[in-house]
Symmetry: C2
Subunit: 355 residues, 2 copies
């Protein structure tokens, strides 16, 4: 049963939690750490208290609530699709913008999630923990019968989808976290999380120039290391797509449209980094990645929600991202995206990205 050293939450409500007036940005890393496991007894969850309970794997019981906008949620949407878990775990999608209290289901008819019957994700958190005091984050897995949040521990969610839900994987599903590569994947994930996934937020939410300058230096040093790593290897670890690539991609695909300008991560665009740009295009063109990416919702989320960074809420019309669809030439580095497996089939009709 894999665990992770990456103890982190999802995309918290940034206006409430992530935007210090001064000094460096630090992410709130407390969250609901229950797990869904293959060996848990059927029926009610067991365990001493919230955060330490286990729930049984059961097709049709849980709903993954994500948002196209959120990079932490994006990981889970990618993995669910790569593994073919669409029929086992349904997907609810929150709207790209939210207020200080909660993500909401404004994209759904009547502004209500059709399965959970709630308007605000906060309701599922409160169903689990009355007056839940922390950020209402996506991704969250919700127990449909009770409407309660089971877990919002996104780092663990993708690992458990890979290991605990094997019974429901599609034929040809890849092993995103192969035993032999776990030590290397864990090491890469630690670096990618602290320096890249969170590094862009550290730039954007820095409360003063000194903190920003330090964050910028640290981010670009890490991007330079990644650029070098990806110059002669097609994927981050091994020669197939792994959990490591899944965790890096959501940040990279948001880089030029959001982090470059909005978070002032602007030494260059990612499109000016040959290896990273080729790697991003390669993944973007791989089923599971580009077809789960909604740039419109991504831009709307950041530019509208972060009032303290962009008071007028105007969303830039650029950049032109047509380049994402151009040939990347990364095949010459060898590797096969799905190894001995196969790519996922078409995106189910109800889940297609429109933006």
């Amino acid at each position: 049963m894999p665990t992770t050293s990456e103890k982190t939450p999802g995309d918290t409500d940034e206006r409430a939690h992530n935007a210090p007036d001064k000094g460096a940005f630090e992410r709130d890393t407390r969250y609901i750490t229950d797990r869904i496991t293959a060996d848990a007894a059927p029926g009610d969850p067991t365990g001493p208290r919230v955060g330490e309970m286990t729930w049984p794997v059961e097709a049709g019981r849980y709903r993954l609530v994500a948002a196209r906008a959120c990079p932490w949620a994006h990981r889970t949407v990618i993995v669910r699709r790569l593994l073919g878990l669409e029929d086992a775990i349904s997907l609810g999608l929150a709207a790209p913008t939210h207020d200080v209290r909660s993500w909401n289901f404004g994209l759904d008819p009547g502004g209500t999630d059709p399965v959970l019957g709630i308007e605000r994700l906060q309701q599922a958190y409160f169903a689990r923990v009355p007056d839940y005091p922390r950020g209402i984050t996506v991704p969250a897995i919700v127990d449909v019968p009770t409407g309660q949040v089971v877990t919002n521990d996104f780092a663990q969610i993708t690992l458990d989808l890979g290991s605990e839900w094997r019974e429901f994987h599609r034929d040809g599903a890849p092993d995103l976290y192969p035993e032999a590569l776990r030590a290397e994947i864990d090491a890469v994930n630690r670096e990618v999380y602290t320096e890249i996934n969170n590094g862009v937020y550290r730039c954007g939410f820095a409360g003063d120039q000194e903190s920003y300058d330090a964050a910028y230096e640290r981010l670009w040093a890490a991007l330079d290391r990644l650029e070098e790593r990806l110059t002669d290897r097609r994927y981050l670890v091994g020669d197939t797509i792994t959990e490591a690539d899944v965790r890096l991609y959501p940040t990279l695909v948001r880089f030029d449209p959001v982090y470059h300008g909005h978070f002032k991560c602007n030494r260059s665009k990612l499109s000016e980094m040959p290896a990273l740009w080729g790697y991003l295009r390669d993944l973007y063109q791989t089923p599971g990645f580009g077809d789960t990416t909604d740039v419109s919702q991504i831009k709307e989320h950041y530019y509208v929600v972060h009032h303290e960074l962009n008071p007028r809420g105007i969303v830039p019309d650029g950049p032109d991202l047509a380049g994402l669809k151009t040939p990347h030439g990364r095949e010459r580095l060898g590797g096969r995206p799905f190894g001995d497996g196969t790519p996922p089939g078409p995106v189910p009709a109800g889940e297609r990205v429109t933006g």
Copy 2:
């Protein structure tokens, strides 16, 4: 005596005047339109009222107050240097940031302009017009004996430096507004002013999404036209540097470091437009252009002064602009920057850009 169809002011105090809460940005175009002319009688200015008076050309009498940060002032600094007027008209430089009332001389010892003896440019405006009600803008030409602003009509200032001050031009000074090309220069200037110089502000200061979207479309349509125009000609008009190039350059050199992110002019970076990027590098490497460009002060100005766009006042550390110094290959298009004239010599020691 050339006049101009470009009736526009300098960089007004944007917090007071340029930042509507809603709707489209419109520049305040009222200003002090006195002129300094070669045929004016020595001594006091003559004319019926402020804005319609003429002052005599007289070496050592006037001080050009500019700011490295301001694109409208940058034009005048370039032209003064190209024409070799440094000894005839001294240069005062306001600090990159200013408050709601005025540009100030915070870069000078004691925060006081050493020639005018004032701390705030507002004092020179008030000396001319008590309680002067409009924006305190640079560039402004100040009459040193009285400390009064003569003119802040930047579009006319550069033309008059070219025509009225010929007596004091250096040997080899270029003709930036040659008779035979004036109609074409005027036409290009009109387009560059409304669509580019002001077009970037229209994007940045749009008060709502609809105004921004329209401004963005209009800006990029114009940049596409310029890209095409500059593909097979080295300069905008004729085969030497003219007033038209002087007016475009300050916007282009600010594009990637400021307008791209801060004003959301982000379809692409200018460095992704081959002709414009080559043209910008060509000018940047020409005496009078790059050597009057202070990117640090430019970035500080925009990102600190526009509190309504960037509340935390954090200045991005990017982009990397090393590319400005790379070979541009534009010589193949023919043309000579200074025609039958010569480039200006080294920048006077006290006027060197440090940022």
